[in-house]
Amino acid sequence: MGLAWRLPKESTYVDFFQFLPRAKIHAEENGQQGEIDSIENKMNSTPAEASVHDIREFIIKKEEDKDLKMKDLQIVFKQLFEQHGEFSALSTEDSIDPKLLKSLEKLYDVRNLLLNRLGEDGGR
């Protein structure tokens, strides 16, 4: 079974990158940087030995890490603005450079292409 079947599909890049304002995200808090580094080292040093499982774990953990960072950003903005009612936060779309916005959309396209490609050939 290919990788594409194992990872949840997000509807848009806006959902994928958890743009603000939106409901709280619920990411598992795993101390996973060590695991990411370990798999990455293996894929770099002995790519022939990296299994489909390694590739799948790498992507999953990278995306969980992304969710944790976005959750952390939500908390930061909540703390910044909730205690100071005089000001309110902008949405993510109004806060970032339009060029970055387009690039994030392209990166989401990359993700979908990558998952489809890995799904077709089993991640070899």
Binding site: M43, E63, V76, F87, I96, D97, L107, V110, R117
Partner: protein, 130 residues
Amino acid sequence: MRSTGNGPLNSLNSLIGNSANKDRIRAGQQIIYEIEHHLPRYKSSLVENMAKKSTSEHYSVLEYGDLLSWGTELIATSMLLRHRQILSLQINPFGHSHIDTSAVFRDDSLIEPIEEFTTRIIRLLEFLEN
């Protein structure tokens, strides 16, 4: 600051003399201070990872992982810088009374990282499409 006559200083005194405005300025300054505190946690201004040299899916997967991490940091930094910029204008008594929050924003420190980020995404996209 004391008033010495007519003009901008009077405007400033009338603004900061108002308790509500004083609270607003203080709140804005506090948020800016906290934003400054959070900014160093993100490394988005550093182009520290070169694109992976290898080919095949391993290249794409590792490059995707790097770009994903970098993208989240660019989002965080962009948002913090944008809010710092707008707050600075909003609490400036001589600034604009109305801030156009929809205006195109570009922080100089992020121009190069965003360019490089975009280049690497396009390169990876082309690799996957071919």
